[in-house]
């Protein structure tokens, strides 16, 4: 479903991603972990072209994302319309929810289907209601985002992304801005999606969640993939010293907080 080869991203002089290779099969859940500044979020944002990458390729469902190869073999940026079309098939959930504060919960969800896909208003509403039921917020359809808890807002954001019926869902540290007691309700929704067979790439610090839900965990450090594999192997027997240290910091943090 997603194939990344030699992905390079620079911000000015600073290279954030040094040639990433990554494959995500249909229905697979891949969790990306790593210290802050390792390029996790940048990698994820390259997967829907919110960041334009400088080298390498990102192929989603068979099509090169953001660029097209011209007759002369050189890459040119795709038109805005094509890029928008690709993005509409890739759902993204942000750390800070990014809901539309001037729209009700229902309108947040129906806006894109109505305006981008031309879905009829009543159909869009029905789909939105079903999605809200799925994330446990059917009773909040007419509420405005500002009146919801952080956990509820994030669940609406997930429903909003799902309403476009994406082929892939990207999650960018979606529980990092939540009150600790609200993390669970969001993870439950994500776990349900994984069980439904959704293809997901998740940037997260929730190690326990990664252990339970991920088919594969990718450890990113300094803009490079240092290790990847099934969570059980990776967490139990990290082969690199960096991952070992990273995981130890987590377990220590966990012990301290208990």
């Amino acid at each position: 479903m997603i194939r990344v080869r030699g992905l390079v991203k620079r911000f000015g002089q600073h290279t954030v991603l040094h040639g990433i290779d990554l494959d995500v099969a249909r229905g697979q859940v891949v969790v990306v972990i790593g210290p802050s500044g390792s390029g996790k979020t940048t990698l994820l944002r390259c997967l829907n072209f919110l960041e334009e990458y400088d080298d390498g390729e990102v192929v989603v469902d068979g099509a090169l994302l953001g660029y097209r190869r011209g007759a002369d073999g050189r890459l040119g940026r795709r038109s805005e319309e094509e890029i928008a079309k690709s993005r509409s098939e890739i759902g993204m959930v942000f750390q800070s929810f990014n809901l539309f504060p001037h729209k009700s919960v229902l309108d947040n969800i129906t806006l894109a289907p109505i305006y981008i896909k031309g879905v009829r208003r009543d159909v869009a509403k029905q789909v939105a209601t079903e999605l809200l039921t799925k994330v446990g917020l059917a009773h909040k359809a007419d509420a405005y985002p500002g009146t919801l808890s952080s956990g509820q807002q994030q669940r609406v954001a997930i429903a909003r992304a799902l309403a476009m019926q994406p082929k892939v869902m990207l999650f960018d540290e979606v529980t990092s801005a939540l009150d600790p007691e609200l993390v669970g309700e969001v993870l439950t929704v994500m776990r349900g999606l994984a069980e439904d067979g959704m293809t997901m790439v998740i940037v997260s610090h929730e190690m326990q969640f990664a252990r339970e839900v991920a088919h594969r965990v990718v450890f990113l450090d300094g803009g490079r993939i240092l290790e990847e594999g099934p969570p059980k192997t990776l967490f139990r027997e990290p082969s690199s010293e960096r991952l070992h240290a990273f995981l130890r910091r987590f377990t220590e943090g966990y012990k301290l907080s208990v």
């Binding site: 928008a84 942000f94 001037h102 806006l111 894109a112 305006y115 981008i116």
Partner: protein
């Protein structure tokens, strides 16, 4: 009768003159406000454009008009253009000058608001597959406008007060009528105090209306 504090009778007898001036002031205010609000939006988009041929002229416009006095701009439009053979009516020249300069100020208010307020929501809209222009129209601008009510309101009040400047290109609005009345009657104090009250009522009405609107749109946030 001399030795008085305030001759209300004088004001009352001359109310028609004030009304006529107030009418012109209202006309100039409304036209200039409309022009500035809409023109400012256009210029703001120019300022935020990545295309040089939009960005450069919009920036030059803002810098030039913000950094020269509006009175001089008014003279330029009225007397200057007349020399070149384009004769504008005093009201047209006045409205254009006020709308022109305040569009520059409003453009900067819009730009700051749009760039700071809607960035995250813009990304969300783009990620859903909206094209930039539609995301702006459906998401960013509506959010920015509701959060910019207060600074926009301040600028509208400035416009109302600055309409008094069009008196200097012989538009018979409130200030001009007042000046003439004061010269004829020597009731300077009464006349200008009354004019001040009229302006105060106008600006307060705008402020109150906007505050009411602001409260309403913030309730749903």
């Amino acid at each position: 009768m001399g030795g008085y504090f305030f001759d209300f009778g004088f004001i009352y007898r001359n109310l028609p003159i004030f009304w006529s001036g107030l009418g012109v002031t209202l006309e100039v205010s409304v036209l200039a406000m409309a022009g500035a609000v809409v023109g400012g939006l256009v210029i703001a988009f120019g300022r935020m454009s990545r295309r040089v041929w939009l960005f450069a002229p919009a920036t030059a416009y803002v810098e030039f008009l913000r950094n020269t006095p509006v009175l001089i701009q008014m003279f330029g439009l009225y007397f200057g253009l007349a020399v070149l053979g384009f004769r504008l009516s005093p009201i047209t020249a006045g409205v254009l000058a006020l709308a022109g300069q305040n569009a520059a100020y409003l453009a900067e208010i819009y730009r700051a608001g749009i760039e700071s307020v809607g960035r995250r929501q813009l990304e969300a809209a783009l990620a859903l597959g909206m094209r930039r222009w539609r995301a702006m129209r459906l998401v960013v601008v509506p959010i920015a406008v509701t959060r910019l009510v207060a600074p926009i309101g301040n600028q509208l009040v400035v416009i109302i007060k600055d309409t008094s400047l069009v008196s200097s290109i012989s538009v018979y609005e409130l200030t001009m009528e007042g000046k003439r009345l004061a010269e004829r009657s020597a009731a300077t104090y009464e006349v200008f105090a009354t004019i001040a009250v009229f302006y105060l009522v106008l600006t307060s009405a705008v402020s109150l209306a906007l505050r009411f609107y602001e409260r309403r749109v913030q309730l749903i946030f």
